[in-house]
């Protein structure tokens, strides 16, 4: 099986996760995961492990940060057309229920955000910018450091969606300086699904919007205000959290930056081959630094038929549709049916890329 669905979920490291499950069953592991928090903080150059908040995933944490940031948001929340529904739907809900204004910065036809457009859109009415570090559709990595600097100069707070970039490129809080970063465990970090975490910068204090047990201050009627408990009500996913520690060790031990660079090199050659195929349409591929994601359509097949054939006839796992990112596909002129997305990662080999090229040649009508 050729796995090309990294933008959705990394191939599961079953043995590692199974070992963690065994350990949990034997010991009833229930600490506060300080060792995992510290390891993750080290990985992202983030100082304070108490300001790392676990949640069930990016959607859960984005909801908590967006709805908990009332005091920061002013009249308008600024965001972009590259966002995933985990950001768009909470924002649409705020807009419909509370009349909060939304302003969208759009990309060029290849999915690149222009710094000028961001700058022009951050007026005095904007208190909060929520922005994707890299789109799950195009893979384009946005110049996040510059964007954060501009937003801060204009007095806006910035929440960065790092679902696609965590574990794929070096992310340093010390360098970027955003107010919050939200990450998924199950993509580039190669952890288990059902887990995400947010790094909450000093001076950014979202209010709790979800209340319950924390394991401390049990006599108090209010949710404890100190982090991480303020935003961590309820039983955590012990197994996934502890398993994530092993994933970080795996990435560091295997020089993930070098492996990702090798994958990108193979991907560039792959793209050159695709460009030479008259029956393959390559969409939204920019010259800007990107994750190895190719969106294709093939003459004579709908995207879902192509995806079906790749999986059921050629054993290639890809993802078709609009990838929960409707605005991005509108911008690429691929809505409502979308594309077949081939997204690669550090487990892919040259053989995989060759096999896909040969498959695409073979299915030409």
């Amino acid at each position: 099986m050729i796995y090309c669905n990294w933008a959705a979920t990394a191939p599961n490291r079953v043995n590692e996760n199974f070992n963690m499950l065994n350990q949990y069953i034997r010991t009833g592991y229930t600490d506060s995961f300080m060792d995992v928090r510290e390891k993750l903080c080290g990985f992202f150059a983030f100082d304070n492990p108490y300001r790392l908040v676990f949640g069930s995933g990016l959607t859960d944490l984005m909801n908590k940060l967006i709805f908990g940031s009332v005091k920061y948001r002013k009249e308008v929340i600024l965001t972009t057309c590259t966002e995933h529904n985990s950001v768009l739907r909470p924002l649409y809900h705020l807009n419909a229920q509370q009349g909060v204004g939304l302003r969208f910065v759009t990309t060029d036809k290849d999915g690149i955000l222009k710094i000028d457009d961001i700058e022009k859109s951050i007026n005095d009415d904007v208190g909060l910018l929520i922005i994707n570090h890299a789109s799950n559709v195009t893979g384009v990595i946005q110049p996040i450091k510059e964007i954060v600097e501009i937003a801060h100069k204009r007095g806006a707070y910035v929440i960065v969606d790092c679902a696609q970039t965590a574990g794929r490129i070096d992310i340093s809080h010390k360098e970027i300086g955003a107010d919050a970063y939200v990450m998924s465990a199950h993509k580039g970090l190669m952890g288990m699904s059902g887990l995400g975490f947010a790094l909450i910068g000093e001076g950014f204090e979202p209010e709790p919007v979800f209340f319950g047990g924390t394991g401390i201050y049990s006599e108090a009627k209010e949710q404890p205000y100190e982090l991480p408990y303020r935003l961590e009500a309820g039983t955590p996913n012990y197994i996934a959290i502890n398993s994530l520690k092993n994933s970080i060790d795996y990435l560091i031990g295997n020089e993930y930056i070098r492996l990702n660079a090798e994958c990108n090199k193979m991907f560039q050659l792959f793209v050159e081959e695709l460009k030479g195929m008259s029956h393959v349409e390559l969409i939204g591929l920019s010259t800007q630094k990107s994750l190895p994601i190719a969106n294709i359509r093939v003459a004579g097949y709908s995207v879902e038929e192509l995806s079906y054939i790749l999986l059921n006839v050629f054993d290639i796992i890809a993802r078709h549709g609009i990838h929960c990112a409707p605005l991005m596909h509108q911008r690429l002129n691929t809505a409502p049916f979308g594309t077949v997305r081939l997204s690669f990662g550090i487990t892919n080999t040259e053989k995989d890329f060759d096999y896909i090229i040969n498959t695409l040649r073979r299915i030409k009508k």
Partner: protein, 92 residues
């Protein structure tokens, strides 16, 4: 011969995909029975014998020899779902 129908959960656009599980593997006879729903193509040159049946409102996809077919219903479909399910029920 139809024993299970499930809606496929995915980030898809304006259409629905259903998975149909049959009580026996798809063969040429079953494909012929479904041809009332659209134009048929069989790709015998592929590593597995893929087939489709297409119209403006439906796309049936499957591999000969498998007990599963995936069926897409496009916006505006009406009689296609009932017709397909009745057709599959009648096949023994």
């Amino acid at each position: 011969m139809l024993y299970d129908v499930k809606l496929k959960d995915d980030c898809i656009g304006k259409y629905k995909i259903y998975i149909y599980r049959l009580t026996r593997p798809v063969d040429r006879g079953i494909i012929n029975s479904m041809e009332v729903l659209g134009d048929t193509e069989v790709f015998t040159n592929f590593p597995k014998p893929y087939f489709n049946i297409k119209s403006d409102y439906i796309l049936i996809k499957g591999v000969i020899g498998n007990e599963r077919i995936d069926v897409t219903y496009y916006e505006g479909y009406s009689k296609e779902k009932v017709l397909l399910e009745n057709t599959l029920e009648k096949i023994t």
